[in-house]
Symmetry: C2
Subunit: 344 residues, 2 copies
DNA sequence: TTGTACGCGTTATCAT
DNA sequence: ATGATAACGCGTACAA
């Protein structure tokens, strides 16, 4: 025992009557080891409550047992769901999660990331949208030798580097639902430029209208930036158009809430006078009035899978050994609540 | 230069023509150093772009340059605000943030935390409510030698270990506002048992009523657990009472949103038939209808101060040197929106 | 004011 | 299958 109180590999070796290296082999599950020796060492380890020192391992391996969460996402709930999913995957492992927000748009963004990855010697990073849509970010990880998994609304990398949802299909389905309720004048509140998710969702919307042969005049499209306020503004713009749209698809829930707000301020009733669908199924969706029909993507599950991909092969695989391949594509579903009604 | 590509302290020492120790002194701002030597070494450092290896430092110092965020908080927005404040304080320093959720209520909770702190050798931890309300958690940090700062709704530790808000006073003020609008039958939706914040807020509510000589019958108090659903249930209970309350104070915004929901389902108009005040000023407060009058506590600022307390003295103090003492008490303010009206 | 030698706890190399 | 010895990069006695 050292003065710190924690037993070290030396203590284990001494007491077990073997060399440090043998203990190290036990820890790292080296295949070439006598069964008896291994049992003896493991007994001492359990006895002493020995746990390898992460700092020393990091130094020797030149690699830290940290998984980074790199994001530049304005939506708090989304980030929290990702963290929850990651931590679920990391629970019980030797890995910890370190969070690193990035300033997309800053010219030094890439350098910041490089410094972070090089200095901390991360085991791997989970790249959230929208930063992860930048290919040079992925290339940087590759160059540095840091594992990475990107998370996004569309597949933009190989399966081991990607967990994706099917935003386009999902929005197409949501829009078809609107059409099935008889709506023909349907407005779109688009997401911000530069967000791949915004593009995918818009494409899905256009897909559905085109297939149904429903016109989409320019006036039925308003730009938003995923915030509540932009939803209010865009909603007002759409509601100014005559004849008014009878339904609106907003590219996320915040903006959908904004539209409801705008509608109510003009004395319009939702869903009687205006049907609304959002995207994300954040808590606000279920808590506003009327409860919002929206698209839910399994964000925590995606993050969990992403983290599992990152640590697979690098962690102690305690289970039977037959590692199940983590999925790369996740399906979103339409959650029907009370913000959609048949057209009058 | 080593094979990793990163220059080490040895490279700097060799090129500058000094010993490792001298370089180490420069890095750690040792006072006893020749000006000329320091300048020369610093030149080489800048030249090489040398950055001390955190893993090696962690090993030698037996202390990692990581700040932990330990929480068991059900509210996503609160946690995100804390993270934002922490990261703001940590930006530009050598510290990173690692997040660690805890399962309060689990019998192994304290052991989990101990393992985490001992293994990772954290520089310090920010303890969020409600876990931080448990004194043994703080004692554990002390025993292990890990710096800590607690965050809470009331002062429960010395200033260097605490950032607190004045929940009781704030709620008292909010309730007085309700009274000033003529309300006399005011309901309370309490927070969950075991949350100190719930207790403080309730006390503030009772303070105001008592001082005004307004009765608080047991029927005007409903229990909640800080969730939307519990707010709905509690709201229904309160609205069943005859005569109905004309106003309700909910101990957080989620529950306040639930009350609005419950009121609307009975055809009641907010604020005409029922005034409501919440607490937290989460995004939902501004986004529901009607916009919610609520109490805002400066959560990000508190977290920022907390992180600053944690790293003060331990970090490179780049500024002039006269460190400003971080505050320990933060004032909450009433945000008046549209969910309160004078009594009919 | 500066340098030497060693410790921190682990993994890797190359023996045996 | 196992062990001696050297990295890994930095901090600290102690000496000079």
């Amino acid at each position: 025992m050292q003065k710190t109180g924690q037993p070290t590999i030396n203590d284990v070796a001494r007491i077990a009557g073997v060399s440090k290296k043998t203990v190290s082999r036990v820890i790292n599950r080296s295949p070439l080891l006598g069964d008896e020796t291994r049992a003896r060492v493991e007994a001492v380890i359990g006895d002493l409550g020995y746990i390898p020192n992460p700092q020393a391992r990091a130094l020797a391996l030149r690699r830290n047992f940290l998984i980074g969460l790199v994001h530049d996402n304005p939506n708090a709930q989304t980030v929290m769901n990702v963290q929850q999913g990651m931590l679920e995957a990391l629970r019980g492992t030797e890995f910890e999660m370190v969070v690193r927000p990035l300033d997309r748009g800053s010219p030094t963004m890439l350098d910041d990331l490089r410094h972070f990855l090089e200095r901390q010697r991360l085991f791997g990073v989970l790249l959230m949208p929208p930063v992860c849509e930048n290919d040079s970010v992925a290339q940087l990880c590759d160059a540095i030798g840091c594992r990475y998994v990107r998370m996004g609304s569309v597949t933009l990398d190989t399966p081991e580097h990607m967990v994706a949802s099917n935003d386009r299909e999902a929005v197409r389905g949501a829009t078809e639902y609107l059409l099935s309720q008889g709506h023909r004048r349907i407005g779109l509140i688009a997401g911000p430029h530069g967000f791949r998710s915004a593009r995918e969702r818009r494409l899905g919307f256009e897909d559905a209208l085109a297939e149904a042969g429903v016109a989409l005049p320019r006036s039925m499209i308003a730009d938003g930036n995923y915030t509540f306020d932009s939803g209010v503004t865009a909603g007002e713009r759409l509601l100014d158009v005559m004849p008014r749209p009878t339904a609106v698809f907003a590219c996320n829930d915040e903006m959908a809430a904004g539209v409801i707000h705008a509608a109510r301020q003009r004395g319009l009733d939702v869903p009687r006078d205006l049907s609304i669908i959002g995207f994300d199924d954040t808590p606000i969706a279920a808590h506003i009035w009327p409860p919002l029909t929206t698209v839910r993507w399994p964000i925590a599950s995606m993050a969990r899978s992403a983290a599992l991909k990152l640590i697979s092969g690098g962690a102690e695989e305690d289970d039977g050994g037959d590692t199940v391949e983590e999925p790369s594509l996740f399906l979103s579903t339409l959650i029907r609540r009370a913000s959609v009604a048949p057209v009058a």
